[in-house]
């Protein structure tokens, strides 16, 4: 404090009440400001998040015109109530006439560097994966990031049979409908993507076929 003589001299020891009041007042003001900014920006932020999700779902399920959050309970797929954990949700995609087309399944798993989160579209009648979108990944730039930057690799998932399970083969050797051409130099990232989809299928596919009645899309276009 020796370098601040003007303060030590000027201010006599303030009472604790004053300290508390100052801090409390500062905290109150700060809280007010933060809450108002939060309220002001929340609609934009939520709208953007919903838009991104919707775009992803529409991308992995071609031909879909509306979507709904679904969950699995008591042996069948039902509309989510909003209380479910993130991992218990899938998205149902519906055609314009309200007919269910397929499901968009989010799943995550370990990649080469960090967790990869992705969304893939699945058609239960044809037992096929029809689209894949990486939502989040930290794969090596230039190699592993080809899992979403390399259009040829992403195109692998545009029509992919899931029986008996999806497997990766060396680039250019794809011969069966359930095979994926791996990315040269990024075999691990490619396998990670396939692994994540396979895991998602193990969990969700039995539930899809087990539900006898497909959930009715009421109300159409909601969410």
């Amino acid at each position: 404090m020796s370098n601040r003589p003007e303060l030590t001299m000027k201010a006599p020891e303030p009472t604790s009440t004053r300290l508390v009041v100052t801090l409390g007042f500062a905290g109150l003001l700060s809280g007010l400001i933060i809450v108002s900014v939060y309220e002001a920006t929340l609609p934009t932020i939520t709208a953007y998040k919903a838009k991104v999700l919707k775009e992803a779902v529409f991308k992995v399920l071609p031909g879909v015109s509306s979507m709904r959050r679904l969950t699995y309970r008591d042996g069948r797929m039902i509309a989510a109530t909003g209380e479910e954990e993130e991992e218990d949700l899938v998205f149902g995609g519906y055609a314009a006439d309200g007919q269910l087309i397929g499901y968009a399944v989010p799943n995550a798993g370990p990649g080469f560097q960090d967790t990869i989160r992705l969304l893939y579209g699945y058609l239960p009648q044809e037992r096929k994966v029809v689209g894949m979108e990486i939502l989040q990944s930290r794969e090596t730039p230039g190699l592993g990031d080809k899992i979403y930057k390399d259009a040829a690799f992403v195109a692998n998932f545009d029509e992919l049979s899931i029986d008996p399970e999806i497997i990766t083969v060396k680039k250019g050797r794809k011969s069966a409908p359930n095979e994926v051409d791996a990315i040269t130099g990024a075999t691990i990232s490619s396998k990670a993507v396939v692994q994540i989809i396979n895991r998602g299928n193990q969990r969700w596919v039995p539930r899809f076929s087990g539900s006898e009645t497909l959930p009715k899309p009421t109300p159409v276009g909601a969410q």
Binding site: F112, T140, G142, L143, K170, G185, T187, I188
Partner: protein, 339 residues
């Protein structure tokens, strides 16, 4: 020492039997590397030669550029810059664009040696610093391997070699996985005789096991390297891979394959033994070598890369000061550690 065969030699200790200079030691290592280098040129032709030249040029020019004028002559003539460039070049794939090899040489000397204060001050092996930089910077080019050829294809240059600086050309179709890559990703074995001779794909100077061993034996005979380091590395790799091999012979490679494939030999004899970045005490040398061996096997079997010698040596380089500190010999006549 200038007199030939003196009848009576009077001098103060230390009584050196031979002159051990930096230059002499470097020359010995260069001589030991000669067979493996020639083999690299035999198998990879002009491409190999150009990559080696580019990386050596990168090293030497950086050394020249960042050395004060009065010290240049001495620093360039001790041959350490040349040796670093050559060692780096030998661990590069033959189809690497030349400008990348040049940058690798520059990084080896600049970030691997000079920035620490010059020869003898660096914590890490300079050539491996350059290689680690290249692998992290250009992962695609650094993991594109071409098959070994023979003298008949000597003048068949890879198009990728001649890429303009900062550019790349589309890699031509002839690529081939290394024996370790084949093993790791396709469970495909490579015959031991090929690994010994070296007509396999890989880095320019790492493929021929036999010639690397020959060079290593020469250096051991000349005593320019500490025999404990290669011995402990090879023994620990052999022991550990034997265990894995016995557990799952169809999944894990055997000990002989593990020693001969990849850059284990060149690493164990020429890089881990770098006197600057390895421990000086005998006990430390054993710890150092065993550490490298363990890390190599762990990275190869459980890691994402098929090869781990480079990272293993760099990691143990980092541990060297600590090892040296804890393995100081006891001072005679005192109990406990002599400090």
């Amino acid at each position: 020492m200038s007199t030939e065969d003196p009848r009576l030699l009077l001098q103060a200790a230390p009584l050196l039997k031979q002159q051990l200079t930096t230059r002499g030691a470097m020359l010995d290592v260069l001589l030991a590397l000669l067979p493996a280098t020639l083999a690299g040129l035999w198998f990879f032709g002009l491409s190999g030669l150009l990559v080696l030249t580019a990386s050596i040029l990168g090293s030497i020019m950086t050394e020249w550029f960042f050395t004060p004028e009065e010290a240049r002559r001495q620093h360039l003539l001790d041959g350490s810059g040349f040796l670093t460039g050559l060692l780096l070049g030998l661990t590069l794939p033959p189809s690497l664009p030349l400008w990348m090899a040049f940058i690798g040489g520059a990084v080896s000397i600049g970030l691997g040696k000079l920035i620490w204060g010059g020869l003898g001050q660096n914590l890490f092996n300079p050539a491996l610093v350059g290689r680690a930089f290249l692998l992290a910077t250009f992962p695609n080019a650094m993991t594109t391997w071409s098959p070994a050829g023979g003298p008949a294809d000597f003048f068949q240059l890879h198009a990728s070699n001649l890429a303009l600086p900062f550019m790349h050309v589309e890699y031509d179709g002839v690529s081939a996985a290394t024996p370790l890559g084949l093993m790791k990703f396709e469970y495909q074995d490579t015959s031991l005789s090929n690994l010994l001779i070296g007509n396999i794909s890989g880095c320019i100077g790492e493929t021929s096991g036999l010639l690397l061993l020959l060079g290593g034996a020469y250096m051991l005979w000349r005593r320019v390297i500490d025999w404990r380091i290669p011995a402990s590395i090879l023994l620990s790799v052999a022991a550990l891979t034997t265990v894995f091999y016995l557990v799952g012979p169809d999944r894990y490679p055997g000990p002989l394959f593990s020693i001969l494939a990849g850059s284990l030999l060149i690493g164990a004899f020429y890089m881990a033994t770098d006197p600057v970045s390895s421990p000086i005490t005998p006990r430390g040398a054993w710890i150092f070598g065993i550490g490298i061996g363990l890390l190599v096997v762990l990275i190869r079997i459980f890691g994402g890369f098929p090869e781990g010698v480079m990272y293993a040596i760099l990691l143990m380089n980092a541990a060297t000061p600590l090892i040296d500190r804890y393995t100081q010999p006891r001072v005679f006549g005192r109990g406990g550690a002599g400090r």
